[in-house]
């Protein structure tokens, strides 16, 4: 096992004398590398569809912030491996990330990324800039490229409130990293094509957070409508999408009751118009 298990005294010395940059990942990489996910491992065979995959995440900016929503389904091939998975994570007080792709790798990346942001903030006494946060996530994704090539790809969507512009910003990635800043709205995952088409028509600039939540839930509904791997609202089990809203007041995950009310509105609308709200033609 790693050298960090050898002797407590050695640990104490190392932990107090390390004076590198304020990155948690860098520190752990030198201090206890086997605590980090092994990015250079080669798998005997590509994992393919056997591990659960997370599906659709959508995000759009609103007046003074940004809203992100994710469906709750994880699939392994044709099997629904989880109905109530959480794919949108708070990463610090003013940012969040949603994951698509290999669920396990994504959850682990979100956990590490949260520590990474907090660690920097505590060490330096200041929060990273939004661009700094987005770049840091790109580095972590690039580190996973080897695994991504063998079926454990994870592609996050990152959203943050930027005090500089008093508004929300959205960043997309690919398996090699990024970031690609996206304006207004973006979607990732298997249902993203349908969600994007839907969002394009429903997005209104500077809409209230409530309106944006409606648009996002509609987009997820459209994604679930056409993509078998994306889960729609589960009315019988009362499983609603995870919706997170970030404004100057900080990160807030909407309660089940709030999301439930939004979902109800969408469902009622769809009873009359199964394809959802109609965008004006001219």
């Amino acid at each position: 096992m790693g050298s960090h298990r050898d002797l407590p005294a050695g640990m104490v010395n190392h932990i107090f004398t390390n004076s590198g940059i304020s990155s948690f990942t860098e520190f752990v990489g030198s201090y206890a590398p086997d605590l980090l996910p092994d990015r250079n491992e080669t798998l005997a065979a590509p994992v393919g569809d056997h591990v659960p995959h997370a599906t659709t995440i959508v995000a759009a900016t609103c007046a003074g912030g940004v809203v992100m929503a994710g469906d709750r389904r994880a699939t392994s091939g044709n099997i629904i491996s989880q109905r109530d998975m959480e794919k949108v994570f708070r990463t610090d007080d003013f940012s969040c990330m949603g994951i698509a792709g290999a669920a396990s790798t994504g959850i682990e990346m979100a956990r590490l990324y949260r520590v990474e942001l907090e660690h920097y903030e505590k060490m330096e006494g200041r929060t990273l800039s939004v661009a700094g946060k987005a770049n840091r996530l790109a580095t972590m994704i690039r580190g996973n490229l080897g695994m991504a090539m063998q079926g454990l790809a994870v592609v996050p969507l990152f959203a943050a409130y930027d005090p500089e512009i008093d508004g929300g910003r959205i960043f997309g990635y690919d398996v090699g990293g990024g970031p690609y800043e996206q304006y207004q709205h973006h979607a990732i995952g298997s249902g993203s094509i349908f969600a994007r088409g839907s969002l394009k028509k429903l997005y209104r600039e500077n809409a209230s957070p409530e309106d944006v939540v409606q648009a996002l839930i509609n987009a997820l509904y459209d994604a679930a409508d056409d993509d078998s791997a994306t889960g729609g609202p589960d009315v019988t089990r009362k499983i609603w999408p995870v919706v997170a809203q970030i404004t100057a007041d900080g990160f807030r995950r909407l309660s089940d009751e709030e999301v439930g009310a939004h979902v109800q509105t969408v469902l009622e609308g769809r009873m009359n118009f199964p394809d959802g709200p109609v965008a004006p033609l001219r």
């Binding site: 407590p8 005294a9 104490v12 932990i15 107090f16 390390n18 948690f24 520190f27 752990v28 201090y31 206890a32 605590l35 708070r90 007080d93 956990r111 590490l112 520590v115 907090e118 660690h119 903030e121 505590k122 060490m123 330096e124 006494g125 200041r126 929060t127 007041d249 900080g250």
Partner: protein
């Protein structure tokens, strides 16, 4: 083994080191840490906005120190590394003030015995629990001794006098404005001038906050708090116990609204 020239007995060495450390610590200003209604309050007179004596270690754990800045800063950074590694490796709830206090005790003890110059620091590691009974406050001295404190701690220059004054005003479950008033009363020498808001470093571990319990109070928010606690006090400085315990119902802050501390402070 022959006794070399200039031999100093271990007892003498330890005494000298302890005296040296005590003198260094006594030169600085005091810091007080006390429990209040919703958690733990840290107050330090500190004219610097950048060099903190109080800081966050982890979700529920705060840190306060007196003495030499470079020495307690090294301890603080080490503590954050320890906490983040354990929280990442296990679960966030598995990081405890007890574990951290042990790590600090080991490190300080080792430095005290092995290095020619001991650390001139005294630190407090505090953890807020779900109720006041589950709060933990550990005080650590330069030689690695750990003291499990309840209610209140004062350390630094004139620690005993400050603790004495703090005990006069302190009772269990004080609301935040009154706890702050008690802390300032303790930190001010009788007849002396109270430090203004911009000369104070104040933070709380508030058990009602989600995720991270640590919150710095500064700027307008601190000024409001200070104004609140000074209004009733001129009329009833000593009979305040029954007078105004219920005011400030909008406190403490439970969300990262308003002035968030980014550490850069303009």
């Amino acid at each position: 083994m022959s006794i070399p020239f200039g031999y100093v007995s271990p007892e003498q060495q330890m005494r000298d080191k302890a005296d040296y450390a005590r003198k260094g610590i006594a030169r600085g200003r005091s810091v007080v840490v006390l429990q209040y209604e919703d958690g733990i309050l840290f107050v330090a007179p500190n004219p610097s906005r950048a060099l903190h004596k109080i800081s966050e270690i982890y979700d529920k754990i705060g840190f306060a120190a007196v003495g030499r800045y470079n020495e307690f800063e090294a301890l603080r950074l080490g503590g954050i590394r320890y906490a983040d590694i354990n929280g990442y490796n296990y679960a966030r709830d598995d990081v405890t003030a007890r574990g951290l206090a042990n790590l600090y005790a080991q490190n300080l003890g080792q430095i005290f015995t092995e290095s020619p110059k001991p650390f001139e620091v005294e630190i407090v590691v505090a953890e807020v629990g779900d109720s006041a009974e589950e709060d933990h406050i550990y005080r650590l001295t330069f030689d690695g001794s750990v003291f499990d404190e309840t209610g209140l701690v004062a350390m630094g220059g004139q620690a005993e006098a400050v603790a004495g004054r703090l005990k006069e005003r302190y009772r269990e479950g004080l609301p935040l404005p009154e706890a702050l008033e008690a802390a300032l009363f303790a930190l001010t020498e009788p007849g002396g001038e109270r430090p203004p808001a911009n000369q104070l470093e104040v933070a709380v571990l508030d058990r009602n906050r989600p995720h991270r319990k640590f919150l710095r109070l500064n700027g307008p928010r601190l000024e409001r708090l200070l104004a609140e606690e000074t209004t009733p006090s001129p009329t009833a400085p000593d009979t305040a116990s029954g007078a105004a315990p219920e005011q400030g119902s909008d406190l403490p802050p439970t969300a990262p609204e308003g002035d968030i501390d980014t550490g850069s402070n303009g």
